[in-house]
Symmetry: C3
Subunit: 286 residues, 3 copies
């Protein structure tokens, strides 16, 4: 019988409404001694990919136990509510089966078992069908902490049938790395889906192409090393390449954000541009 003492909790509920507090209250009554740690409740509304990436970034640092994650634009439709066991029971992730949990599940080694949350004995009766965090997911997380067996919560489902996550991967074109902004953090740093080894051959200065513009990114070890006015490339605290400016927002500076494409290339390495004689004019958006 597994017993967990921590629930890590992520949603797109925001904290203006009472949703988060109500789920905490429901958990408190089912499993009084469990600690609930809020990871974030400010995932952009309905943004399953952003929520999945946030969980994946957090995954290796979370306390073993239950991960309760709800970003659920299809609430109360045919999308399944699931609990996914990882590490042969080391932790369980609870949430909608819409790809939200998939990146984190991958990060920690993949699913070992999963169930659909169909057993009404472990749910709250709902006055309406739309608050699954309160009525289905929260209670499931709390009951798991109390030692209720995973298979008690509902019918087992094939882990290979779970909705996969969609994490963009880079591709190489003409020697350049075509990347994407995975995440714009609160400081305006732009995390790319780029491992430092992918740009090792480009040297300390890297050409950045985005939104019709070309800029030079300079590799630095820390954000504070980036001189004012320069665009830095820093390996961030997750081990990925990020675009950064010193004490200001690179996102505001470059006017790009999550989901935008960025091409990284060796300086002067682009055949087409090598033959031109006019200098590149940076077209700033109005």
């Amino acid at each position: 019988m597994a017993c967990f003492d921590t629930i890590s909790f992520l949603t797109d509920y925001g904290t203006t409404d009472e949703f988060v507090g109500v789920v905490h209250s429901v958990i408190r009554q089912v499993a009084p001694d469990v600690r609930v740690i809020d990871i974030s409740h400010h995932v952009p509304a309905h943004d399953v990919r952003a929520g999945g990436l946030t969980l994946a970034r957090s995954a290796q640092y979370l306390a073993p136990g239950v991960v309760l994650a709800v970003v659920d634009p299809g609430v109360a439709t045919s999308r399944r509510a699931v609990a996914i066991e990882v590490g042969d029971g080391a932790s369980v992730l609870v949430g909608p089966d819409n790809g939200l949990l998939a990146p984190a599940v991958s990060m920690v080694g993949g699913a070992t078992r999963a169930v659909e949350l169909t057993n009404l004995d472990y749910q709250l009766p709902a006055p309406g069908p739309t608050f699954a965090g309160r009525d289905i997911f929260g209670p499931a997380a709390a009951h798991l902490c109390n030692g209720v067996d995973l298979l008690e919560l509902g019918a087992e489902v094939d882990v290979n049938g779970l909705m996969p996550g969609m994490i963009p991967i880079t591709r190489v074109e003409d020697g350049a790395v075509v990347a994407e902004v995975l995440w714009t953090d609160g400081f305006g740093n732009l995390q790319l889906n780029v491992d430092p080894v992918e740009i090792e051959d480009f040297g300390p200065r890297v050409e950045l192409r985005f939104d019709g513009k070309v800029r030079t990114g300079v590799r630095h070890t820390t954000y504070a090393d980036v001189p004012t006015g320069e665009i830095g490339l820093v390996v961030d605290s997750y081990g990925l390449v990020s675009i950064a400016a010193n004490r200001t927002s690179a996102a505001d500076e470059l006017r790009i954000g999550t989901g935008d494409e960025v091409v990284l290339a060796a300086i002067g390495d682009e055949p087409a541009r090598a033959g031109t004689i006019t200098p590149v004019t940076l077209q700033e958006k109005p």
Copy 2:
């Protein structure tokens, strides 16, 4: 001697300033083992009605114990600071006597006893008169958890003399239900003060009149069932009728919000409009 182990905490303090953390710290020192669950601290500043409705929506889900609520535009004036017992001691609500607590008190069966928080032995000495959450309400909540008797906190007051809450009720005019938006949630759904039975006779398509416009709302079971571009009427997770759009904000779409009037009627049921021959032109705001 009642002992409580949970304080449910709601304010309009926001979380940018240290107010919420300081109240948590004060409680921690008076009653170290109590769990404090934050319901919301983003009630609009001084909006007693919004705070009261948030508490009322939460009430039935809160852990038994103390509810600490502070939305208090009249802080340090003649408005009383009170503790209101409900359920013959099952829980106690602590806050200003300005109507904030009243809807939640009603939801759980009404007040059984109440005191004004006048006993300085259970308050912090204040360098200024304006932070009642830290100096008066927070300590009162914590001492109640420690088993201090309600009547120790101050003089008993008549529960019938407590400030009532003001929850708008619908009225019927010419067969139409004149309603009001009680709450715009973070997803832009518009909760009305309308029980589903009130619009049962209108059928699946209901005329909505607001702000000089007329739209058709279509009843659906879930938010995700609402087709793109359509205005849905969904019974929300609190059992009330709400206006919703699929994966977008109905509030932004219709340009209405909390406190605005919405009239619900049977389609084609309005006598005045039946005689007109020109179609209704929707006047969009610029």
Copy 3:
């Protein structure tokens, strides 16, 4: 061997990203029984002074234990990571040595010992150099709670060599008090660096000069006592003079904010203006 059971936690991380939750998770795994109380995570990005003032306002109300504070524009540069003991071990403040901790340290009597956090045994291995809260400061706070000796965390440093904080003090010019807005709270009240005794001689009505304008501030005991349309001067809950408007934002009303200068003087006391015959015209910004 000191053992602490509470960590008071302040950052400029915001709560949109997972940073705060990840630090909570790291602490949970090192010191499972410690309570972490969030003071604020919405200090303006990189604003060391604002963070330091927030801590100083909170200091006397915090539970004894560890204060974990991270506002750290120079992360991973030569600025030191430190732990500062106060009250001969009553509490320890952990964070960057950039002046952030200094005002709070002063408030509680000054530092008794300090170390630089150099011992890697009490840090997490980092995939990148930039998340010191997760990898250095959070673990240090948790290990201190577990009873690890301060001197185990790194080399002792001279407490007189710690970076001082910069709190502006008032000056008197021609009998007027030249002050500064220390803090604009979420309600729009403007806290000045002015002790009530400094303006005692000015009487109940005080001339306020700021941004080329002159207004009269009227002293009141509570915010709610300020009549609509009037500018009030209220001793706030920290014992400092603040500019306030009743149920509205004084900051919006006067169009000033944190860091702006405000001169307080006796009405009609300014020599230059005494000789003029034209009335002061208030120039409103467009």
